[in-house]
Every structure is written in structure tokens, then in C-alpha cells.
Assembly symmetry: C2
Homo-oligomer: 242 residues x 2
């Protein structure tokens, strides 16, 4: 199939996925550029549709795996992508089913609203071996968060939770990351599942969540600047707790 | 003074500072929002001009310290700011003089071109007590980098260098951060100044820099994702080396 009009009904439907509400309604999202599409494919997640003006080996792999390939031109690619200079191809994806909480190391992200920070934390969790749970915050499957995640979504999909009690009730040792006043990072006791709880860029963790945690942890800072970016602090805490 | 026209010559001159070339030519940059302006003032860096439509205590402090205050309206603020919804005030600043290399812990950032990553690394360096040196990469005093730096520029100003040999010749123990194949992080030997060298998001460090370093260091990663965001990896390495 070939489409060259930006007002084509299918093209319009893809463009609507720029909006969170439409992604939520359809259960679909956009995946942009060869690296993300390849990581998804490698993880067995096959796009529904692949828009391309260049074709090539990756697009053929998508087609062989069951994706519908739509040949198009630069103008249409630019209209459906969320980046100013989109990389070929742009794919439509059904958001994969959410896994359950099954790791001994869990990082719980609370109210992380910056897409870059959220994607970076998902990426760091996957690299450091921590499962990621999400309480509120930005849409983890938005194109921006997928971009910052650099493919980690497909290797270690984030798990949305609706209430912090789910973590407490599941028996995790809960550790709140706070800017100051907490213990330094410690080695996780053998045989105990740990949930590291990280709050938002601007407001930190809600007080009721800090007080329902077993331990508060703070990173020792030696410099004159008193706080770090939330994504950096969360990653250092994961690293430091091994 | 009050200005309400977006075509006023002074307003146009401020707007030209959005461009890197103009910042370079004038030695000036833009500082947006109360947090950054306050951090600059606290560090003794007084803006040249402060544009405001709300006035208030911070603006009075700027004026008392020698800044020229220009009262204006929302429309002008939006035209001079680089954010879509600018925070009051927007200030014009002379980029402070660059300090020399004087720390026992130096992180050298090579070709970091993403403004968010660059600002975040400057912020992490300041929080963790590492001086930041810059070899090429994005303009460290651009409004975007200042925003990600969250005020760290004024507490620990980054030091531009023009050649990696400056670091080698200064006698630092040079440690290249590489994705894999390096040693795990180690405690810095007593009495030895260390330069941790961090490369770009997309290409890592140039081979000739890695080979001129004394040691290569890699972060142990346990997950299935093989790399982390450059700003996160750099911060973890600084943290891990104490």
C-alpha cells in the first residue's frame, strides 16, 4: 500500500496518537526510528503498521513478522512523527500487555511527569536490573518517553500500579529516596525483596508515602548544590544498593 | 523603564540571544525564571537587565544589586523567553569569567551535544563535588543547559578546554568511562588528582582519547539493556569513585 496524502484517514488516525487520550482509548502508540523499531522486533513486539519512505532490511523484517507496511513520502512521515526531523520508519504499535511485579528489586516511580526523566529511569532500571513500577506520572508509552527509554520498554516493561498500598501489601522492604535526612545507601539484605521509591522532579515524594515506607534513604552529597535531577538520583540509588 | 513592544530594539537584542552565535559574540546569555535568577544573585552574579511583568522581592534584589529593571508585559516576556510559558523574570546575564582547573576531582565532558544531558552533568558534578571541564559539545551557557543545570553553573562554573592534552599535561590520573571492557569503579588513590572522562550520547569517546587515558572504567550492568543515558552513567561513575 502507498499513501501520499497527509489528509488520508489512516494518516489522520496515526496523527491522533500524538494525544495521550487517543493512545489510551486505542491502546496504541507511535514508535519512531530504526533503533526503537528494531529493539521492539527483537523482543517479539511486532508493530501493527510501519510507515516508510526508504524501505530496507528492517522494514522487510517487520513485514515478515506480520506488520502492514505502508510506503509513503517524507511529507507524510513528518506529519505523523512527533519529532521535527523524523527517522524512517515510523510504526504504530499496540502497547504490550503489562507484566506483574515479579522482581526482588523494584523501583517505584511516583508522579514522574517529565517524559525525559521517566524514560531515562525506565532505561536505568533495565540496565541495573530493577523492575520499574509506576504510580501516576506521565504516559510511559508516549513517543517522548519511548525515545528516552531507548528500547528498555521492550526488555523490561514498566508496571503501572494504582495505589501505593499494593507495594506495601506485597511485602517489599520499602525504601523512600529523600533529598536529605535519610540513611546512606545500604546493601540489600539477602532474601528480602526491596522497593526503592522515587518521587517527582519538583515535589519529591508525598509525605504519606514517605511515612508508610520502612526506611528513608538519602544520597550523600559533598558539593554545594543540594539536589540532583530525579532520574540521576534514582539511578545512583539503584546502583548504590546493588 | 517600561517596554511594551516586541519590536523594540532592546527586546530584539534580547531575542537574538536565542542564537548561539549571538551569545558568543556578546558574551551574554538569558536566564529564565525566579529559581535561576535567585541562584545567580546568591552566588554574586548580577544580571545586566531584568525583564518582569510581576515585579516582587527578587526583582527588587536584582535592582539593588545593580541590574537594570525593565517593566514589560506578558507578550514581550513570551517573545524574549525560550520557553513556551516563561516564568517571570527573564534576565540578561554576562557569562561569568571561566575559572581554572583547581579540583582534585575533575569530570571531563567530551562532545556532549544534548543540552539536557550537559546541564544534568553540570548539576551532578556540583552535587557530587566534581569540577566540570568541557571539550567541545553544546554551549554550556545556553538557556536550555542553564535550565537543566538548575543553578549549578553559578556554584561550580564549567571550564572549557580546547584540547585533551591540557588534562594529560596537568598530571591528572585520566580515567575513560567506556560502555564495556573497562575496570569496575575504584576508590581514588589518596593524594592523586583524577580526571574522569565521559563521551557523547551517540558516539562515546573518540578512540584517541580512550587510548591516551591511564585507565578505562565500565559500570557493571546486570540487566539486559546494555547502555545507560550518558548523564546517568557519568553521575554514577562520579558517585562510585567517591
Amino acid at each position: 500500500m502507498r499513501i501520499e496524502s497527509t489528509t488520508n484517514q489512516r494518516v489522520k488516525a496515526v496523527r491522533r496518537l500524538h494525544r495521550g487520550r487517543e493512545r489510551h482509548r486505542t491502546g496504541r502508540t507511535l514508535l519512531e526510528g530504526p533503533k526503537l523499531v528494531e529493539t521492539a522486533l527483537d523482543a517479539g513486539v511486532v508493530p501493527v503498521e510501519v510507515y516508510t519512505d526508504a524501505g530496507g532490511e528492517l522494514v522487510r523484517r517487520c513485514e515478515a513478522a506480520g506488520a502492514q507496511v505502508i510506503e509513503t513520502d517524507r511529507k507524510v512521515l513528518e506529519s505523523i512523527a512527533t519529532t521535527v526531523e523524523p527517522q524512517d520508519p515510523v510504526a504504530v504499535l499496540e502497547v504490550p500487555e503489562q507484566p506483574g511485579l515479579d522482581s526482588e528489586r523494584l523501583v517505584v516511580l511516583v508522579d514522574i511527569s517529565d517524559p525525559g526523566n521517566l524514560g531515562t529511569l525506565i532505561r536505568s532500571g533495565a540496565a541495573l536490573g530493577w523492575q520499574v513500577a509506576l504510580l501516576r506520572g506521565a504516559d510511559p508509552w508516549s513517543p517522548k518517553v519511548l525515545r528516552s527509554g531507548a528500547g528498555a520498554h521492550f526488555i523490561a516493561p514498566p508496571v503501572p500500579i494504582s495505589n501505593f498500598d499494593e507495594i506495601v501489601d506485597a511485602g517489599y522492604l520499602t525504601v523512600a529516596l529523600v533529598v536529605s535526612g535519610g540513611k546512606p545507601p545500604f546493601d540489600i539484605p539477602e532474601g528480602r525483596a526491596v522497593a526503592l521509591v522515587v518521587g517527582s522532579e519538583s515535589h519529591g515524594l508525598p509525605e504519606h508515602i514517605v511515612s508508610s515506607c520502612d526506611i528513608a534513604l538519602s544520597l550523600p552529597m559533598v558539593g554545594a548544590v543540594e539536589s540532583m535531577n530525579a532520574a540521576v538520583a534514582g539511578a545512583i540509588a539503584m546502583f548504590a544498593m546493588g
